[in-house]
């Protein structure tokens, strides 16, 4: 029963990822990315990382992907797909990707996969060698590790985010005309 669910979520993730890669409509790939991220969150639950799963949904599905959708919807130029109609309301609202080549995308994805998997294989995870803690949630472990062992990366990331926030504020402010 559990295995069926596991393979169903794997299938969901893979189908979503393949759709992202192969579809030509940018909006479809954004929604397929939603499926993939949800599937990955479910796989995190199977790995016993419930906090990670929920934060994946909150950050990636609820934040990043919505921003991606905003970017796609608001910045796309209306390209005439069916040139027979000039009236705006009779045109379909598909947003097509600029390049049609499938191989470029496959090549890029394969390269990314290779690089990331090499990075993960070579990384040294300190908690791997220790026995699994019997704590009811993973939150305690995550919090303590962040504040002790991984304090430097944590601080670096917070400074990076602060810089990004300040930069976004600067870009968004009204430009003063000379």
């Amino acid at each position: 029963m559990l295995q069926i669910a596991f393979f169903a979520f794997i299938a969901l993730t893979l189908i979503g990822a393949l759709t992202v890669l192969l579809t030509r409509n940018v909006l479809y790939s954004a929604y397929a990315l939603l499926l993939t991220l949800l599937g990955v969150a479910a796989l995190f639950v199977f790995a016993g990382a419930d906090f990670l799963a929920v934060s994946q949904i909150i950050i990636y599905v609820g934040g990043v992907l919505v921003l991606v959708l905003f970017g796609v919807m608001l910045t796309s130029k209306p390209t005439t797909i069916s040139t027979s109609t000039v009236v705006a309301s009779e045109r379909s609202n598909a947003i097509l990707a600029g390049s049609r080549g499938v191989w470029l995308g496959v090549l890029l994805a394969a390269g990314l996969f290779f690089g990331l998997s090499r990075l993960l294989m070579n990384a040294h995870f300190a908690l791997f060698d220790q026995p699994i803690s019997k704590a009811p949630t993973t939150i305690d472990t995550i919090g303590k590790q962040l504040m002790t062992e991984y304090i430097v990366p944590f601080e670096v990331i917070s400074i990076l985010l602060l810089v990004a926030l300040v930069g976004a504020g600067y870009l968004a402010k009204k430009s003063i005309k000379p």
Binding site: D50, V54, I57, I58, G63, F70, S92
Partner: protein, 386 residues
């Protein structure tokens, strides 16, 4: 005997699901009755006694309307939109603890769909998913007004999620747990309710809940004067019904979460005395179950009050302008909730003192009072003599 637990558990889940739908159905009736009361009208009173069959008649009407899909709309996404809205609306009531526990023999089954350790975060995840129903539907309609409404809804939801999360962090700091049941059990005793320890957090949370539900005064996504009908302009029949219904389900869930987080959930004053008296007179099984039932009834009383409050505000406060909405979210609520977190932390570090945030409330009241006193008096209007 494992089967009995499973049966009770599935009955609880079915009951939660059914009650959510039933309350959402009758919220439509209640909304019209409350609106009628506030506007000095009678309201629906034709279908059945007191118009009680009105929601069912409305649903029947919705089903028999023409189900129209615009020619250039993206057909599958157009259908997917309302389904997603409904799905995400129904998902979040799973983690709300509706009561203590039901005893059967030697088993104790908690009155709750699932008791997860990350309950609060689960609610957040589902709320952040709720944007997609509106966005997909609005984009798939292939209509400028729908797209504008969808983008408004999404940006509003994202902006207010930040303040919503920050206002809850203060509670999490006091409780030390993400489980909703644990948060309820922590509010043991009337003055331990989080509304008394976190008055500012409660106000921020309530405002953000209004914005998340797209209710007036924050119903910009369906603002008729600017956007025709907002994201559901192109929808008809039961697809439109699903969008409207999802809004009422969201209202019920957010009322339940407000009562759980800030008003002690199923706790009420003198709860333990009542529980002990019932157990003494009726035995440990029946007495305990009846005590649980009273707690659940009390929780539903609180939920109904907040649903009424949603409707009350709808007919009291006019709609915000969009820039006002964004200014309120980003420039007022987020800094205030950060201040709230800092002061709560200071109080907890100092001496486990939970009522530190009253300081902000007092300062704010004094500032408002001085502002009101210093403000120049308005001159009385002089009617020109003719």
């Amino acid at each position: 005997m494992e089967l009995t637990v499973l049966v009770i558990k599935s009955l609880v889940i079915l009951a939660v699901f059914g009650i959510t739908l039933l309350i959402a159905t009758y919220s439509t009736y209640a909304e019209r009755k409350v609106a009628a009361f506030l506007q000095d009208r009678i309201g629906p009173n034709r279908a059945g006694p007191f118009g009680l069959l009105q929601p069912i008649a409305d649903a029947g009407k919705m089903f028999f309307k023409e189900d129209f899909i615009p020619a250039q709309a993206n057909k599958w996404l157009f259908i997917l939109g309302p389904c997603l809205a409904m799905l995400t609306a129904l998902m979040s009531s799973a983690v709300i603890p509706f009561g203590d526990s039901i005893r059967y023999g030697s088993f104790e089954v908690p009155v709750q769909g699932i008791d997860v350790n990350v309950g609060v975060l689960y609610v957040f995840g589902v709320v952040s998913l709720g944007v997609y129903g509106v966005m997909i539907g609005g984009w798939a309609s292939n209509n400028k007004f729908s797209l504008l409404g969808a983008i408004r809804a999404a940006s509003q939801n994202i902006s207010y999620e930040v303040a919503l999360g920050l206002s809850i962090i203060a509670i999490l700091m006091m409780t030390g747990s993400l489980s909703l049941r644990h948060i309820v059990n922590e509010q043991n005793g009337f003055f331990q309710w989080n509304v008394f320890t976190q008055p500012l957090g409660f106000v921020i949370f309530l405002t953000c809940a209004f914005a998340e539900c797209n209710r007036t005064p924050f119903d910009l996504p369906e603002c008729e004067t600017e956007l025709v009908g907002g994201y559901h302009t192109e929808y008809s029949s039961m697809k439109l019904g699903f969008y409207l219904f999802a809004e009422y389900i969201n209202m019920f869930t957010s009322s339940a979460i407000i009562s759980t987080l800030y008003f002690g959930g199923f706790q009420y004053p003198f709860m333990h005395q009542v529980h002990d008296a019932l157990v003494d007179s009726l035995g440990s099984t029946v007495g305990h179950n009846i005590a649980t039932g009273i707690g659940t009834a009390v929780l539903f009383g609180k939920i109904f009050f907040f649903i009424f409050f949603f409707m009350w505000v709808r007919w009291t406060i006019p709609r915000f302008r969009f820039d006002q909405l964004m200014n309120l979210g980003w420039k007022t609520l987020i800094p205030l909730s950060i201040l709230n977190v800092v002061l709560t932390g200071a109080g907890l570090l100092f001496d486990k003192f939970k009522y530190a945030t009253w300081l902000i409330v007092i300062v704010m009241i004094i500032m408002a009072a001085t502002n009101a006193i210093k403000a120049p008096r308005r001159k009385p209007v002089t009617v020109p003599q003719l």
